[in-house]
Symmetry: C2
Subunit: 447 residues, 2 copies
């Protein structure tokens, strides 16, 4: 037990420290004069912010990626995104399969599997995830390049294809065009490919494993069932609500054809959960649309994927628990399974800590960040949530951030990506100590 | 078991329906021409909104209480506040002592008590609470009247004393002066009395019982310990943070003496949790101060008191649970006691549902509420939280609300006061059915 706890601590710490190391290496590379388009040395804070944003697959930028950075600089950004996205995913496999402490559930999953069928070894699973991810990104890059070719020529279209395929799959949110991907607002082909890449990257390794081995195992884990169900509900819900708030995209672009409006609404519903590529300026969104986007960024995507936020399964689990409590049920059940108490406590802890961190960041920015005339408090909250959700959509505050503000936003991106638990476990050096003394129960009045 | 569940349902329903009945009766009285200062009939929606705001001890107003309503109308408002505040408190005693289903903990509390010492009967406790409350309000009224006498003469000063003592103790937030109690910004005597009345009303009946019987029982319940501890931390925290955000009140009123600045900061820290009497226009607050006030309104006061919001014990419980989970502890302990799982699940449910309701209300208002030029989205969120926390401070949106907006804010006040669980139990007609089938446990990946 003790060794498992220790092992988990060391995994959390390795992940956290590993991310710091990658970010610092990226910063070093980006401060080289060779990294900028004009061969001048970038300021340390710009390099650090960009490296953090890339590694944490967020996409908030202080400078235009297309014009400020050289090819080398852009290549560094792409590699950082790939390490941040794919590296994190494979690391989570390691964590999931080795650590008993973190996932008591994993033992159950594995137990079931070894009973029913051949279970995948750790190495095999990592290989499968990496192979699949690179394969999908490769196909995406080729398909995108075809479309870019007529306008950008051979070399540039290949480069753009690769960069945006990686950026979309890793949900990094970086773009080499002006204003994210606004110029493709009416290009259904590109939007569909990017949308599929985003979705592929955001389902997470556990879901991929279950789907890929389903023909052999005929079994989906509870995690996969809950992820898919929650993701589907959130997606359909956001399509419906964005259609409502933006009057079917007419608010944003009245003269677009109905078909393109539908495509853009679909893309809009996919991107805030963590992708960050946008087809228009989000300051044109209605107030209700901005509020909805904030909620979606807070939720984020599936755990073990390229997503940030508190994660869709957390919301799904809490929704099921809430409903059970309101109905007076004692157990929290879903799809013929009962959730362990620890699972619910972890979800609860995650939400509370996330809420606390977001509140503190917002409060501190409110106190320290001067705002331009037209900007309200929503600019700050949106920016904080975009960083925490590693979504990277901004209402335009990023370039106005003070040094202090930049540090806060970098911290939010880091926590959003590495995960509250990993950061906290590392910071608190937590062990799973069951206290010897157990106190008698006594409750308090609630609500 | 079944009867207890039924009994609890009937209590929740009685409370919910009772509040509706009181509000409707109040509305009827306020639509009488005798209720308005000019003897004209008030519109139905104005009467309904005012009756809801008074009964739910919120204090949001569409019209100036001092000039729009007659003495009779103001008397109705005061009586509605008293029923909403004190009536609710005594009803909670009934609920607490009779219902086994809602408070499994109550059995434990009672068991302990009957072991250790003579426990208070239900009737005795109700009598004690009512007597104490009326006593405190009486003293408050006399003390306030003394101060009002030189300016307002005998009759008016007595009336103002009674009205504001009731309004403060019941945390109703109504005032017969212009701009709430702004004219007393430099009147320490009045602010201290009002502050003490507010605090007395917001500690809740369980804390009062424990404190009043301490000389005999030498025992504080876990609830009382947690309430006092949490309340103290929140109070000290908000004093410190308001001092910081408002630069020691200099932001709001630069020429006030230091002593009066301190008194105003103290009053500011007390009022948002549920009272709603304010010494200045909250639009002058800094952005960080507004954000802090929102958080405090969301939290609210102690359960079983005149407070709204999700309640201080909920926050305290969740904070302790979160810390325990992060430290890897299995049990959630406080002061030599372990919290039952159900208690934590209830707290969790409360926060999730509150968050959901607030989000929906904000979203719908964002979609339907036209805003004046200078108003940002914070005007909407602030208004929703002021209603849910039954705090009643407004940035000025109340009088601009559309009919639809008024209905939403009324619903928020109602839910904030009657309580999410009571409203939900009534709406869902929930029973405590332990299902016969118990499923095997399986967890999902979180965060
Ligand atoms: K992103
Ligand atoms: K109030």
């Amino acid at each position: 037990m003790f060794t498992f706890a220790n092992r988990h601590f060391s995994l959390s710490a390795t992940l956290t420290i590993g991310f710091v190391a990658v970010i610092l290496l990226g910063t070093l590379l980006l401060t080289l004069p060779i990294s900028t388009a004009h061969g001048i040395q970038s300021s340390f804070i710009t390099a650090l912010f960009t490296a953090t944003s890339a590694t944490c697959v967020t996409g908030l930028t202080l400078v235009e990626t297309s014009t400020y950075w050289s090819f080398f600089g852009q290549f560094v950004i792409m590699m950082l995104s790939e390490i941040g996205g794919l590296g994190f995913m494979t690391f989570m496999v390691l964590m999931f399969t080795s650590s008993r402490r973190k996932l008591r559930l994993s033992t159950q999953l594995l137990a079931q599997e070894s009973l029913n069928l051949q279970h995948l070894s750790q190495i095999k699973l990592v290989k499968m995830i990496v192979g699949l991810s690179l394969g999908i990104q490769g196909i995406g890059a080729i398909l995108l390049s075809f479309n870019f070719y007529p306008k950008y020529g051979l070399l540039k279209s290949i480069w753009f294809g690769i960069f945006h395929s990686v950026s979309a799959y890793c949900n990094a949110g970086f773009s080499l065009f002006n204003n994210s991907i606004a110029e493709f607002q009416n290009n259904t082909y590109v939007l569909v490919i990017l949308g599929l890449l985003i979705l592929s990257g955001s389902v997470g390794f556990l879901v991929w494993r279950d789907l890929l081995t389903y023909h052999k195992r005929h079994h989906l884990s509870l995690h996969t069932k809950l992820s898919i169900r929650t993701g589907f509900i959130i997606l359909v819900g956001s399509i419906a609500l964005y259609t409502l708030t933006e009057e079917g995209f007419s608010n944003i672009s009245p003269h677009t054809s109905i078909f393109h409006k539908i495509v853009n609404i679909l893309f809009m519903a996919v991107t805030p959960r963590t992708a960050g590529l946008v087809t228009f300026d989000y300051t044109h969104l209605s107030m209700a649309g901005i509020f909805l986007t904030m909620i979606l960024m807070f939720i984020g995507g599936t755990p073990g994927s390229t997503a940030g936020g508190i994660k869709s399964t957390t919301i799904g689990l809490l929704a099921i628990q809430t409903w059970a409590t309101l109905r007076g049920h004692h157990d929290v059940n879903f799809s013929g399974r009962r959730f362990p108490r620890e699972n619910i406590y972890r979800a609860l802890t995650l939400v509370i800590v996330a809420f606390l961190i977001i509140s503190i960041a917002t409060f501190v920015l409110c106190m320290t960040q001067p705002l331009a005339q037209k900007m309200g408090v929503e600019y700050i909250i949106f920016e904080v949530l975009a960083a925490f959700g590693t979504t990277g959509i901004s209402l335009g505050l990023t370039t106005h951030l003070t040094l202090f503000g930049k540090i806060i936003i970098m911290l939010m991106m880091f926590i959003g990506r590495v995960g509250i638990f990993n950061v906290m476990y590392t910071a608190l050096n937590a062990k799973n100590h069951q206290s010897d003394i157990r106190y008698p129960e006594e409750g308090v009045l609630i609500g």
